[in-house]
Subunit: 292 residues, 2 copies
Amino acid sequence: MAKQNTVFKDAFNRCLKLLAETSMLPSEPELGQALGVSRTTVRAILTRSEELGLISWDKRRKTVLRSPGPSDYFPTEETDSLAERIERSFMRRILAGGAEPGMQINELELAREIGTGTTSVREFLIRFSRFGLIEKRPNSHWVLKGFTREFALELTEVREMFELRSAARFVALPDEDPAWDELKAIEAVHRAILSDIDKRYKEFSELDERFHLLVHRSSSNRFIIDFYDVIAIVFHYHYQWNKAHARERNARALEEHLAYIAALQSRDPRQVEQACRRHLKSARETLLQSIP
Amino acid sequence: MAKQNTVFKDAFNRCLKLLAETSMLPSEPELGQALGVSRTTVRAILTRSEELGLISWDKRRKTVLRSPGPSDYFPTEETDSLAERIERSFMRRILAGGAEPGMQINELELAREIGTGTTSVREFLIRFSRFGLIEKRPNSHWVLKGFTREFALELTEVREMFELRSAARFVALPDEDPAWDELKAIEAVHRAILSDIDKRYKEFSELDERFHLLVHRSSSNRFIIDFYDVIAIVFHYHYQWNKAHARERNARALEEHLAYIAALQSRDPRQVEQACRRHLKSARETLLQSIP
DNA sequence: TTTCTGTCTTTTATCTACAATAGACAGATG
DNA sequence: CATCTGTCTATTGTAGATAAAAGACAGAAA
């Protein structure tokens, strides 16, 4: 196998959903636009849809013949890109499995375990190295530096610098900036989750990312925004991993967010700084608690 | 060709220098230590040295027979690692050649131009992407974001945050920290260059990197230290590129550095902040002036 | 005239193969 | 008995090949 056709499979699945809602599909370029793929892939999707008897296709006439059933879809395991699969496997290994700092990472072994070639693993490790958790010894192996207390402290130190700076920029955004509307929307979701916290506390993780990314974006600084990737991935896996007291933690964080959001809306830099510092402090403590 | 043997060639050249100074080479492990390579490579070096009649080699007895001449060395072009060659070619293209932002970057074309396989180019681009100058469109090309005014401003914004923080940490280092000695050594080089500025102003670039890296190191934060790579590469190529008024610029920067160093040595946080800010401000202005 | 389709070319993503390099182990040597 | 050498194995770095996906262009259709 050279290239996986996950783009095709994933787009095909998404196309089936569109197909369920109309009787006539649009033009190829339009469909490509809607699915975010090239015409080549669109045509592959149409070909397969025709073969399955889902549509009849004659040039510009693409008529839906029947609604897609569950068996028409590709299984979800096959629609994830290789990079996603590698990331998951890798994070599971280093977070769940015995992940002692200093451990060697073996490309070939990892590749075999994941069932892929070494090139992809290698490229993943190179990309991943910017998260500061692994390091390359040239002409030799990678070394796991480990998700340690130092790591968490270094990460949060930079995070705090960047977020304070971004928050200070946020209050200076012009009234018509779309960020204000997004902030309102985010606030509303916070209230909704809080009012049904017992059932919905798990939604916090995703909301957290959405909120902080919005703040970081207002820095208009690519380095600050890019760094948020590091924070996001660490917190993402951290939430998955450390579920103790999740409900209470999330409830408290939601409250802190609301105070922080109110401060942003007040546009008073001092209030913002205060609320931001308070929230970041407790976020840091939570993260540190989960590290032995 | 599978793997380049640049490690061997480079180590061989360095070994010739050692060889010129002794009549008897040490043991294989010791030699490996000195050259920073494995025993496998050491033995390859010894084998070749023997073939060239430079030494006689019998088990532990490695006697130097003659001093190496110029023709014994590998040409320097062959000792650079592939990654270095790719970096240079790439930087020349995007800094010197018409490097309009938005330009597409083609892996295959680059590889052909440099005379290497696509894999290496790809891996280089992935590593390089963390410098914020290029961006990947998945399943498609890379886009050059360009060495623009915004880039320089975003870079210096973060640089200033990080360096102020690091400098503040520096003054808190214990007296016995080796950084203080290194700082003294750096100061001495500054004075030496300044006293012969007309001839030696070109040495500033390297000294600048050495000094700022020392400061950043005292942050003990991997993200801050890693970020210095970005700064270093940008300034490195910037110095190579923009030579107008280099003498005056460097003389001024040297003076600023001396003030900054004195402030660090005074251990007075307020003086440090002032001197640091002053220097960073003029560094930013210099950088911006070189951008159209 | 504008947008669409059929066809073709180019480029990327990924696998496999292989030389260079690192590293392990047992027996040799001082 | 500690260190070195000979030999062997494992792993990385790089090239080359190939399917998937993107994208270009000319002629067809509205």
